[in-house]
């Protein structure tokens, strides 16, 4: 019982949690969301470029995309963030006069996300049946136009669930930006929890931060499942198919 009480006090000290809630809401949540959204958007654009390079007929482009992907997928997130943040931070500071490590955090997260998203896009695009490209070209579309308007859209649609999963990863990985030493207004969920925990010597603020993360990630996970299901079962016909009804496919009875 004694142990249980001690654990309860360590993790579920309601006073501590109530104290940290306002700054989690006002500062941590927006920063975490901005970090994830910004790096997700940049990562998606870069990832699409990487995917197109990866399937291009140009050997140099393919090789460059491969090398980039191998490097950024092969490094631990915290190492990439530190190297980019601390390495390029000073140059960025001189160029812009900004003292904030925040943009470097976004940059590092984006570069990492691009490597993963690039692979997701590439596998999606390559999974599209070759007949689609052939049909578009047979109509008179060039290779580029066929890829752009027929093959790539189908590939992207197919990997939407995987993309959402990548975004969930980004929400979690954005916590690692704390290693760059953020200004107090730039702190994301994890660092606010950590600072409060360090001040009070109690771990309850971590629990509060954890609840915020779960409130973001669990609904998204279920959204992924929903999208996945919809894509798998496809769009239902608007009216029952009378021709197929005999065989039972669209039969209403």
């Amino acid at each position: 019982m004694d142990y249980l009480n001690r654990l309860g006090e360590t993790f579920l000290d309601w006073k501590q949690i109530a104290e940290v809630l306002p700054s989690l809401f006002a500062v941590g949540l927006p920063n975490t969301v901005v970090l994830a959204l910004a790096s997700g958007a940049i990562g998606t654009v870069l990832g699409l470029i990487l995917a197109l390079m990866g399937i291009s007929r140009n050997l140099v482009a393919r090789w460059a995309a491969r090398a980039y992907t191998d490097v950024f997928r092969g490094l631990p997130a915290v190492l990439t963030i530190l190297v980019i943040g601390l390495g390029f931070g000073p140059i960025f500071r001189e160029l812009t006069g900004s003292n904030s490590p925040y943009p470097m955090g976004v940059a590092a997260l984006s570069l990492m996300a691009a490597a993963y998203i690039g692979e997701i896009f590439r596998s999606g695009i390559q999974s599209v049946d070759k007949g689609q490209l052939e049909a578009a070209r047979a109509l008179g579309f060039g290779y580029g136009a066929s890829m752009r308007s027929i093959v790539v859209p189908q590939g992207i649609r197919r990997v939407l669930p995987a993309l959402m999963n990548q975004f969930i990863s980004l929400i979690k990985d954005s916590s690692l930006v704390f290693t760059l030493g953020l200004l107090s207004s730039e702190r994301e969920l994890f660092q606010i929890g950590q600072d409060a925990a360090a001040r009070s010597g109690n771990l309850s603020p971590y629990v509060a931060a954890a609840i915020f993360y779960l409130a973001l990630t669990i609904p998204l996970t279920h959204l992924v499942n929903y999208i996945d299901n919809r894509l798998r079962t496809g769009n239902k016909p608007k009216e029952p198919d009378t021709a197929a009804a005999v065989v039972g496919k669209g039969a209403s009875a």
């Binding site: 070209r137 047979a138 109509l139 008179g140 060039g142 027929i150 769009n235 021709a243 197929a244």
Partner: protein
């Protein structure tokens, strides 16, 4: 009078190799304007490859392709393909677009028709293949036979001078084959120039004006259907016919 504006198609001495695999070994084929040529032969004889070389989905290593008597190898291959409609064994409809969008897509993007005009023309074309009522459904909700008829409408919408059919009924359930063959027969009777790669010997014999038998990347025999089916001259064609009939 023909409801189409077809052209003649000629292949002269066409060669193609994939690495050391010599797939087409000097193919000659002449399809006069408004006629239907069927190409038969065992799997791997190069029939489907020949179609793809004639619309330059694959560039030939040697030889010439003539449309309406003029060589097309100097022109842009995209321009050439706009003049030749192609129908595939696996239909290859665009699954993320509705039926009418499938047909209107090239009209809008290549012919630059305004949206409503492209849709009207696509609906007209769908009506011709009896599927106007399926215009706003996705291809995935159609039977194979219906999908193939949409694919034919998609190709016809571009008002091609020649139509290619690459084993257009081979992937269909037996009871769906008839509808597609009937549509192809209509096109043939309507005066379209057609090259039909097929395993449907009935179609080949009854509908086409000429039959070409290919084996091992060469044309073994060619002539009117009666001649080829009743008096095959070569042992290879005799053997093939006894296998498939």
């Amino acid at each position: 009078m023909s409801k189409f504006d077809p052209g003649s198609l000629t292949a002269k001495g066409v060669h193609l190799s994939f690495g050391s695999n010599h797939v087409l070994r000097g193919i000659d084929l002449h399809v006069p304007q408004g006629t239907t040529a069927s190409v038969i032969g065992p799997s791997g004889s190069g029939k489907s490859t020949l179609l793809r070389v004639m619309n330059r989905l694959i560039e030939p290593d040697a030889g010439d392709i003539l449309l309406d008597g003029k060589s097309v190898l100097q022109d842009s291959p995209d321009e050439l393909r706009r003049r030749i409609g192609m129908v595939f064994q696996q239909f290859n409809l665009f699954p993320h677009k509705t039926v009418v969008e499938n047909v209107a897509f090239a009209l809008r993007r290549l012919r630059k028709l305004p949206k409503d005009q492209a849709r009207a023309k696509a609906l007209e074309q769908l009506d011709m293949v009896g599927l106007k009522h399926k215009a706003d459904v996705r291809p995935g909700n159609l039977s194979g036979g219906q999908q193939q008829r949409v694919a034919i409408a998609r190709a016809l919408a571009m008002e091609p001078e020649v139509m290619f059919f690459d084993e257009a009924t081979s992937a269909l359930d037996p009871e769906l084959v008839k509808g597609v063959l009937a549509l192809m027969t209509d096109l043939s009777k309507g005066g379209m120039t057609m090259v039909v790669v097929t395993h449907e010997m009935g179609f080949s014999r009854n509908v086409s004006d000429t039959v070409t038998f290919m084996d091992g990347g060469v044309v073994v025999e060619t002539g009117p259907p009666d001649q080829l089916f009743t008096e095959p001259r070569t042992d290879r064609l005799k053997g093939f016919l006894s296998d498939v009939l």
